[in-house]
């Protein structure tokens, strides 16, 4: 089993899924489950082939530890989400097309992570972009797919420019060599660095490219949002990683102005990541739709990942890499649980739901653990990665970035709690009183992801050991791992011990809950009204306008999307002008233009 076979079989699965879906779309969806599980298992087993190279047509692949790590994260997102596919086929306009594109994009991501040269990387990257764009359009918003594609294209074309420019200078496309020769061209190096990382920034959703994320993740078919948020943004993280490792940014820029040891171009990118954290957090707090809220949280977490990766040091980098796993798992689990609720209630608007904990307790548990991880609270994995990132920032003395990181962490608690209280807690709406929990087939992936969240939190070293390998491969000093602890210069973390302490706390609270008297359940509309008539259930839900005072603080914040609209309008105007000036019908104008041109040429030609 080699990588070629994995990719080819995945594509074969994609075609097979399409054909089977034409006959029975549920069966086709089951093929996506089979295909993604196949890829997951085989790539996991490729562990032993790490270090080898392989080619197919003009694609060249290189099995690196980094690629293996990233692709496992991606395939986990794809395979777990695939379990939900069969139940959503009815809603899709092209079930067969969806299944085909689902697996095709998966095969594309494999090509990206294992690419040896930039042409391979770019070909598979773009394949993922257009196949996911065609899936997003099947959801609630066509505009979202369009914006997604355009911003992705801006990033991709910038990266293509960087790749070709580097090729023109160094003569090679091989990832590990293409940028090494740029040390002698400082001016070009900056241009290439900025344009190259653009695709990564656009994909992760870093400010100012973040505008596509909320609409795309929020409106995509419910079974694709977990993949988008948990998986595809990590492709951007991969490019960001390449931009400081394959492109030896720290070396090339070492003579440039730097802030606390970080060269300015890199610091600028990290600052953009910090702005994303703040912007994502604040926007998430405002949202009324659960999926859009989670999408903004992906923006914020993307900022964390970017900052961690770009630090390229012992501790912060490990935190960034770990956060990739944690966020992928938690985000996928959160989106899946919202999808499960949407499957039963038909909506993701938080104001229309309530009290689902009584009807769907397992889904509630999945969501709860996911958000504990996202907020960075022990004993879940998110705590470990954020702890590492904070350590790195603090050690380096990066005050601004550290402040935004802490702010993002606190703010994340605010926004993740909102769907919890709005959707699951509180009183149940009458129309939902008969809803049931989702079936086992949908519960299975959610439980797996929850267990993974716990695993990363209680035994983080399982994953960190791989990160150590990656760090060594890139020549960094790896994070120090002892038995079950992570040792840093500021102290150590024994995650298992933390888990035990939390376990005790939980046990005590549980005992108290069981002993004490239960509260009396009251129906939503059974409330004191001073003889007023009440009819709007939504307004009475206790999470309505939850954070109104806080939101009022930044009500008037500027909207980046308006910038893009203005740019589009300007291009439209430019087109109008070009059309009337150059492509008009009146021959007289053309004749005059030509005569003018000829005259100018005669005069200028005579002079020259």
């Amino acid at each position: 089993m080699n990588l070629n076979l994995v990719i080819i079989v995945s594509v074969a699965f994609a075609i097979a899924a399409y054909l089977v879906s034409k006959v029975n779309d549920k069966a086709g969806a089951f093929m996506t489950v089979a295909g993604s599980m196949f890829a997951l298992v085989t790539v996991f087993l490729l562990r032993n082939s790490i270090g080898s190279e392989i080619s197919f047509l003009y694609f060249n692949f290189n099995l690196t530890v980094t690629g293996w790590y990233f692709s496992l994260v991606m395939l986990t997102a794809y395979s777990m989400t695939a379990f939900f596919n069969p139940f959503w086929m009815k809603k899709l306009i092209y079930p067969a097309g969806y299944n085909f594109l689902y697996l095709l994009s998966m095969a594309g991501t494999l090509g990206v992570f294992f690419a040896k040269d930039f042409i391979t990387l770019f070909v598979f990257w773009e394949t993922v972009v257009w196949s996911s764009a065609f899936i997003i359009q099947m959801g609630k918003s066509r505009q979202a797919a369009y914006v997604y594609y355009v911003i992705s294209a801006i990033g991709s074309m910038a990266t293509l420019f960087a790749i070709m420019f580097a090729y023109g200078t160094t003569g090679t496309f091989v990832i590990n060599e293409a940028f090494k020769g740029l040390a002698g061209y400082p001016g070009r190096a900056i241009v290439i660095f900025i344009t190259f990382i653009a695709a990564g920034m656009a994909k992760i959703g870093i400010f100012p490219f973040h505008v596509w994320l909320p609409s795309a993740h929020g409106s995509a078919p419910h079974t694709f949002s977990p993949v988008l948020s948990g998986g595809l943004v990590k492709m951007g993280a991969f490019v960001a990683l390449l931009s400081v490792t394959a492109f030896p940014a720290y070396e090339i820029f070492k003579d440039m102005a730097s802030f606390r040891g970080i060269p300015l171009p890199i610091y600028f990118m990290m600052a953009l990541g910090a702005i994303s954290i703040v912007a994502g957090t604040l926007m998430a707090i405002k949202q009324e739709d659960a999926k859009k809220l989670l999408a903004y949280s992906s923006v914020a977490n993307g900022g964390y990942i970017l900052i961690g990766l770009l630090m390229l040091d012992q501790v912060g980098f490990a935190g960034g890499m770990m956060h990739i796993v944690n966020h992928a798992v938690a985000s996928a689990a959160a989106f899946l649980s919202i999808a499960a609720v949407a499957y039963r209630t038909g909506t993701t608007k938080m104001s229309e739901m309530g009290g689902m904990i009584h009807r769907m307790p397992v889904t509630y548990l999945v969501y709860l653990i996911a958000i504990i991880s996202m907020a960075g609270i022990p004993p879940m994995g998110g705590f470990v990665s954020k702890w590492l990132i904070f350590q790195g920032l603090a050690d380096k003395g990066l005050i601004f970035l550290a402040t935004t990181a802490f702010f993002g962490s606190i703010g994340s608690f605010l926004y993740v709690f909102r769907p919890l209280s709005a959707v699951f807690l509180g009183q149940t709406f009458t129309r939902d009183l008969e809803k049931k929990e989702v079936g086992f087939f949908m519960m299975f992936p959610m439980l797996i992801l929850t267990l993974l969240s716990l695993l990363t939190g209680v035994f983080p070293n399982i994953f960190l050991r791989v990160v150590v390998e990656i760090q060594s491969a890139f020549g960094m000093l790896p994070v120090t791992l002892a038995e079950n602890t992570i040792v840093t210069s500021n102290g150590f973390l024994d995650a298992f011990r933390v888990f035990i302490v939390f376990g005790f706390g939980f046990a005590i609270a549980f005992v108290l809950f069981v002993i004490r008297r239960k509260s009396r359940k009251v129906e939503l509309m059974d409330t004191f009204t001073s003889a007023e008539f009440i009819h709007t259930r939504e307004l009475l839900h206790y999470s309505h306008s939850f954070y109104a005072p806080f939101e009022r603080l930044y009500e008037k914040a500027p909207d980046t999307m308006k910038l893009y609209h203005k740019a589009a309008v300007k291009i439209n105007e430019l087109g109008n002008m070009a059309e009337s000036a150059f492509f008009g019908i009146r021959p007289a104008r053309t004749v005059l233009l030509v005569m003018g041109m000829v005259l100018i040429v005669i005069i200028a030609g005579g002079v020259l």
């Binding site: 003009y58 773009e126 074309m157 910038a158 087109g575």
Partner: protein
């Protein structure tokens, strides 16, 4: 068994006259003529053939070298495809199409500058008549006027060159014109440029395109955008890369005009709401790009762009023309969901759009890479930046159209097949087959680009371009 290249011109021309006489057999005559040409094109004798028994360099000659071989394949095969897809629409235009085919072959094959003028006129006349199909007399008249102006300017330029070099034979003129000073060449060069620019859709002679292509049907759209366009651009390439190589002044003028055409075409396409308008402006933009590449001496990428554009536009214009015929509109907002029950047409159109944007896994990517590499190898990065900016815009408007045509539905609701404009089949079975074949070719050459590269490179090498700036099937390591 090698045949004389004259047959490629004589057969369609002869059949055109026969078709006038035997009106009832027109369909058969057209089919035979077009198929025969497409078949014979692979058996033509290479080299320079003198016509009429005179000796070179005084004779009119037909040159089949590696460059014109590509041109002649494109012209004949694409005409066959165009006729096959829209056979029913060729009813009244059989002699015109055949005569036009003869003219096009002549344009690409000829080795004599005045003969080129003659064939350009024949082609132009067939084009004017074809454009009248759109029932917009004012637009056809406009085309006629601009075309005539262009021809006159071309003739003027040719006279000046003839006066200076004393010959009309292309290869001889190439030698002689190299000896003349640049200043003397600027004016004739610009005049000849203006002449060829009409059919090649370059500024400032492209005022006719909106009216003519905007009202075309599946047949005429494909003929103009694929067949005539490719021939005109190949002629442009021949003239400006081999015969009259522009010096610095004229070269800069031509390149600037060509890039301006590219940029103007892309932004105009972006604001267009009508499907055919978007496509025609995209064609203008691609022409501008090819012309800029030719004028810089990058013949290989230019030919790739031409092939890519021809194949893609063939699919897209036939789809657009059929959509307009079936639904009465080509406003793509009003055509929402037209692909819902039309998978083959939809997939073909999508692949064509992706190829024109230059997305990977299809041929257009190879073309785009070569365009960028040609400039960036030299260290110029302004032009690649313009090309990439244009690509973003092109991708934007194509994706907008694709999304509209594939996924009908109100914003805020899931895409719903019931909201589609209709379920009429876009292509008849024959058309579907042709379109799928072209699509498969585009995909296949996307996976095996070097095979195409090897076919095209000798033509490029002939005109001074050393060949692909990138080789994609690389030895281990992934570099050239």
């Amino acid at each position: 068994m090698m045949i004389n290249p004259v047959l490629l011109i004589a057969i369609p021309l002869g059949l055109a006259f026969i078709a006038v006489v035997f009106k009832k057999l027109q369909g058969w005559i057209l089919a035979i003529g077009v198929a025969a040409n497409a078949f014979l094109v692979f058996f033509v004798e290479k080299g320079e053939t003198a016509i009429g028994g005179f000796k070179l360099p005084f004779a009119i000659s037909l040159v089949l070298d590696d460059f014109s071989f590509i041109g002649v394949i494109l012209v004949n095969v694409l005409t066959l495809a165009a006729v096959a897809v829209a056979f029913r629409k060729t009813e009244k235009y059989v002699p015109v199409i055949l005569a036009g085919l003869a003219g096009l072959n002549g344009m690409v094959l000829t080795g004599d500058m005045f003969n080129l003028f003659v064939f350009m006129e024949i082609t132009a006349i067939s084009a004017y008549i074809l454009s009248s199909e759109g029932r917009k007399p004012e637009q056809s008249f406009n085309y006629l006027v601009i075309g005539s102006i262009g021809s006159v300017l071309y003739l003027l330029g040719l006279i000046l060159i003839y006066g200076q070099t004393g010959t009309l034979n292309m290869s001889l003129m190439a030698e002689k014109s190299a000896l003349i000073g640049q200043a003397a060449m600027v004016l004739p060069l610009v005049l000849i440029f203006a002449g060829i620019a009409v059919e090649a859709k370059l500024l400032p002679m492209s005022g006719w395109v909106r009216g003519v292509l905007g009202n075309s049907n599946a047949l005429t759209g494909v003929m103009f955008a694929s067949v005539y366009s490719s021939a005109a651009l190949m002629v442009f390439g021949r003239v400006f890369s081999q015969v009259l190589i522009p010096g610095t002044t004229a070269g800069v003028i031509i390149i600037v005009i060509a890039l301006l055409t590219f940029a103007a075409g892309q932004v105009s396409a972006f604001r267009s709401k009508s499907l055919r308008q978007v496509l025609l402006y995209s064609s203008i933009a691609q022409s501008g790009l090819a012309a800029a590449l030719f004028a810089t001496g990058f013949v290989f990428p230019a030919v790739l762009v031409i092939i890519n554009n021809a194949a893609g536009k063939m699919i897209m214009f036939s789809t657009a023309g059929n959509l307009e015929e079936k639904y009465g509109t080509d406003d793509y907002v009003g055509l929402g969901g037209a692909f819902v029950r039309n998978m083959p047409a939809g997939v073909a159109f999508t692949i064509a759009a992706l190829s024109l944007t230059g997305l990977p896994l299809v041929f257009g990517f190879y073309a785009k890479l070569n365009v960028l590499a040609a400039y960036l190898n030299q260290g110029t990065f302004f032009v690649p930046a313009v090309v990439l900016a244009g690509t973003i815009i092109e991708g934007a408007y194509f994706i907008r159209i694709l999304i509209k045509l594939w996924a009908p539905g109100k914003e805020g609701e899931w895409a719903d097949a019931d909201q589609s404009v209709g379920e009429k089949k876009i292509f008849n079975p024959a058309g579907t087959v042709v379109v799928i074949l072209v699509t498969l070719l585009i995909i296949l050459s996307g996976f095996l680009p070097d095979s195409v590269g090897k076919l095209v490179a000798p033509g490029g090498g002939l005109l001074g371009d050393e060949g692909p700036s990138i080789s994609l099937t690389m030895e281990k390591g992934g570099d050239q």
